[in-house]
């Protein structure tokens, strides 16, 4: 546990200063074909300070948690800022002033499970798969828990304490076809401790059965025909589209670096059916998968309406980019561990649901694909996005046909989004999203199903 209230260290501040105590607990229990290959807990905690002096930043961090460590990081961060300030002599306006206060602890109130109990839970899932599906080449069941605990104090007066847990179970199944493996995987879980999300292994049997049926479909699958196609992106895919295709290009640091969003504010970039928002903590009346109640600069977080009915409206900002753009910070500054500085990161990025029914959307496609599950993806300054598709089906004459093998889709975001002609009334948040941008970060990604045109890789 970290110190919840850092207020007694305020006297150490001279310039703009952020003081952050942070602990991350990362627990993994992994079975592979009945073998326990990971049985580990990592706890990483410490203190950091970031100082702003004459347009330059200095940062320092230390694993200690006592007064001496705190004084060291504040002093060292000040020295680092001074080193740059003397050399660069930037003439910049002051940073925008705001200060958020929040205390939010989303820990479970239930009795915590022991390591033995968690291993037993995992083992029972593993055993269910092994007993019921004997034609598998491999099976993998992974429990992964990440707790992020943060205390913050800033010279502008922000004070916060948050404890945000996340738990997920990842299952992958592989079968053989003509001597080559075919794999499917899926993840369940989300915001909260394990005890609040998972009750008994038997509750997950339908999830496993469903995944196995998808494996059987995919085992008979074929590679898609490469080219530009009509497709339905399932609601489980929309989130990564929102994140990769649009989200990154509208992070203000990437806008400053020349992303395609730089020249498109207040212009149409998507179909009028598309509204895309980066939510702080609550969307459509429910808590988001990655709630941010105060960002890591102490800014009160706002929802950022990035695209509104097809028009590009806003970027995501930290204090520095807000100063440069002469606007208000939006509370998007986040740091992964105590030794990382806050960067502009997404929080819970989603396309809003529409009015169409998924069945009607599939029926409307003459020749194309229904793409249901995704792997990792990547964004680009040009707006070209790519992400892996790990499950999908051919559509022919409005009906689902054969499954397809793994592929990748791509497109130019602001062109592709203009091809959206139907948006379903569902809303699905992806479980366990992790974004990489110098540092890792847990993110929420969500949306409805979309009918659009994309480029697909294949034969």
């Amino acid at each position: 546990m970290i110190e919840k209230n850092l207020a007694r260290y305020r006297h150490l501040f001279h310039d703009y200063t952020e003081l952050r105590a942070q602990e991350m607990r990362y627990q993994v229990i992994a079975f592979l074909n009945g073998n326990l290959v990971a049985n580990h807990l990592d706890v990483n905690s410490g203190i950091s300070a970031r100082v702003y002096q004459a347009g330059s930043w200095g940062f320092a961090s230390h694993p200690g948690r006592d007064d001496s460590a705190i004084k060291t990081v504040v002093t060292e961060a000040g020295h680092n800022a001074g080193f740059l300030a003397r050399k660069l002599r930037k003439k910049l306006p002051p940073l925008p002033v705001s200060a958020a206060h929040a205390e939010k602890n989303l820990s479970t109130h239930k009795q915590r499970l022991s390591q033995k109990e968690l291993i037993q839970f995992n083992k029972e899932l593993e055993h269910y798969i092994g007993q019921n599906y004997k034609n598998l080449v491999s099976r993998r069941v992974i429990i992964q828990n990440i707790d992020r605990e943060i205390s913050l104090l800033t010279s502008l007066g922000a004070e916060s304490y948050t404890f945000i847990p996340r738990s997920k179970i990842y299952i992958s199944l592989s079968a053989e076809k003509d001597g080559a493996p075919v794999e499917v995987y899926d993840v369940t879980g989300g915001l909260g401790h394990f005890e609040d999300l998972f009750r008994t292994p038997a509750d997950l049997h339908p999830f496993i059965d469903n995944l196995y049926n998808k494996l059987l479909d995919k085992r008979e699958g074929e590679r898609p025909e490469s080219g530009v196609v009509d497709c339905i992106l399932d609601s489980r895919v929309a989130g990564i589209l929102a994140h990769e295709a649009v989200g990154h290009t509208t992070e203000a640091d990437l806008v400053l670096g020349g992303s395609v969003a730089a020249n498109n504010l207040q212009k149409p970039v998507a179909s009028p059916l598309v509204t895309l928002v980066d939510f702080a903590h609550t969307a459509l009346g429910k808590t988001c998968p990655e709630p941010v109640y105060v960002d890591d600069e102490g800014t009160p977080p706002e929802d950022v309406v990035i695209i509104e009915q097809g028009i590009l409206k806003q970027y995501m900002h930290n204090r520095e980019s807000a100063m440069l753009f002469e606007t208000a910070p939006t509370g998007n500054a986040r740091a992964w561990t105590f030794s990382d500085e806050p960067l502009i990161r997404m929080r819970n990025t989603a396309i809003l649901p529409g009015k169409d029914k998924l069945a009607d959307m599939i029926a409307s496609i003459q020749d194309g694909y229904y793409l249901c599950a995704t792997g990792n993806g990547q964004a680009d300054a040009t707006g070209e996005f790519t992400f892996a598709v790990t499950q999908g089906y051919r559509i022919h004459n409005g009906k689902l046909g054969k499954a397809i093998l793994d592929t990748t889709i791509t497109g130019i975001a602001f062109e592709m989004l203009k091809t959206v002609t139907m948006v379903s009334d569902e809303m699905h948040w992806t479980v366990g999203g992790l974004c990489g941008k110098k540092q890792l970060m847990t993110v929420g990604m969500g949306g409805p199903s979309l009918k659009c045109r994309v480029m697909i890789g294949g034969k």
């Binding site: 049985n39 930043w57 080193f83 930037k90 020349g258 300054a381 040009t382 992400f387 892996a388």
Partner: protein
């Protein structure tokens, strides 16, 4: 030294608390980093951290716990947690620790950064780019000095201490002319010192010089079966994917690796020799012992097309009854070939000069579909124009089987050394 004393005490506590076998890895690290944002030097960051990994084995049961807290209470708690986790685990005779070896102390590189020189080199790099490539935008860059001291002990008497420091530089950039912007590109390098200007390391000069030409990128129509020349930066991903996907514990223990029965058999064209050389003095990111506590050795993974080594850990080797790797992989070197990179391009009838790829990872069979980024169309042996929205599809194993040439030039990134490489029979598709 503090870290040696802490590791020794941790091992004693594990033994006292009942571990029949145990290992402890303790490290202290320091990073000094200059960060560039939107073309401007923006941040100086200094981080200090510790890490202690305790692994306990009791009655063939294994558990591990790591933390960066090293006070007395934390050491007891760390050992106790590893023991509790081990007791909770099912037994597996494959869990083990490294056998006894002679203790050694390894020292390499600098112990402290030269902050003034770091700033000077970084500023000179930004000035160079602004002057020589005015349309190139440096989006982000990081120049850091990383120092680490690590000790590895186990109950068989293994005792290794390694101390080292090196510089690392990475840059993300694109070119912009009015409203036209190129894909971002990135590259990096590792260095023992900053004896030269940054632009002279790795592929930086080549990559930046090529960036403005990409402003003229055009989509490709249709699809065809073609040839590709992979630049060294692209080969970084292809080699990493090949090794991670097919040669490491998960796919070999699962039995899904298509190479699981192919040791000492042909898996690639005879032109390919791939080595892992953590001890090479040509590289700046050396390591001296494996994560299991074996003294690291250099190895040949593929020797003239024959698979000579997996990258199995001790556990993976015990599980599969295959030989344990003599290192943890990485520090890859692909031996140079006999032709020039210009000759490789001249030999392409129709295909792509691939600088970078994007789009997931290959599946368990090795099938992939990637987007070719920062890449160029080659026709009749000449580079025609840069392309956009182009995909390459194929199979990773076939990429290596179908190698038709490897250049004699190489790029030393400091963490790998790679040449240019030509392969055939890929599906190249555009809009």
């Amino acid at each position: 030294m503090r870290i040696i004393e802490i590791a020794g005490r941790s091992l004693e506590i594990l033994k006292r608390r009942g571990a029949s076998k145990a290992q402890v890895k303790a490290s202290e690290t320091e990073k000094h980093e200059l960060w560039v944002d939107a073309g401007q030097i923006s941040l100086f960051r200094t981080t200090h951290n510790d890490n202690l990994i305790n692994t306990a084995i009791l009655d063939e049961r294994r558990g591990s716990y790591s933390s960066n807290q090293l006070d007395d209470t934390a050491l007891e708690e760390a050992a106790e947690t590893a023991i509790v986790f081990a007791k909770a685990s099912p037994p597996d005779p494959a869990y083990d620790i490294a056998a006894k070896q002679s203790p050694e102390n390894f020292v390499i590189g600098r112990s402290e950064p030269d902050r003034e020189l770091m700033f000077e080199r970084l500023k000179a790099f930004l000035d160079y780019v602004a002057h020589m490539h005015p349309k190139v935008m440096i989006r982000q860059a990081a120049l850091s000095f990383d120092h680490e001291r690590t000790i590895f002990l186990n109950t068989n008497g293994v005792n290794f201490l390694a101390t080292g420091g090196n510089y690392n530089f990475g840059v993300v950039f694109s070119s912009k002319n009015n409203d036209v912007i190129t894909s971002f590109n990135y590259t990096g390098c590792a260095m023992r010192d900053l004896g030269r200007e940054l632009i002279t390391y790795g592929s930086l000069a080549d990559s930046l010089a090529r960036s403005e030409a990409e402003l003229d990128s055009r989509p490709l129509s249709g699809k065809f079966e073609g040839e590709i020349v992979l630049a060294p930066d692209a080969l970084v991903d292809f080699i990493q994917m090949f090794c991670d996907k097919f040669l490491t514990d998960p796919s070999l223990i699962a039995g899904t690796s298509p190479l699981k029965d192919r040791l000492n058999q042909t898996v690639a064209a005879p032109a390919l020799t791939l080595k892992s050389e953590p001890l090479s003095m040509d590289l700046a990111t050396n390591y001296f012992f494996t994560r299991d506590g074996h003294k690291a050795q250099n190895s040949r993974i593929i020797d003239h097309g024959n698979l000579k080594s997996f990258l199995l850990s001790l556990y993976g080797a015990n599980k599969t009854s295959q030989p344990r790797a003599v290192n943890d992989g990485s520090c890859y070197i692909v031996e140079p070939g006999t032709v020039t990179r210009e000759d490789l391009i001249r030999s392409v009838k129709r295909g792509l000069y691939v600088i970078r790829t994007s789009g997931g990872t290959p599946n368990d069979r090795g099938d992939f579909s990637f987007v070719a980024k920062n890449s160029f169309l080659i026709e009749d042996g000449e580079i025609r124009y840069p392309v956009q929205e182009v995909m390459i599809s194929g199979n990773l194993l076939d990429v290596y089987k179908n190698i038709q040439g490897i250049s004699r030039e190489q790029i030393n990134f400091g963490f790998h050394i790679f040449p240019w490489l030509k392969t055939v029979n890929l599906t190249i598709s555009g809009k």
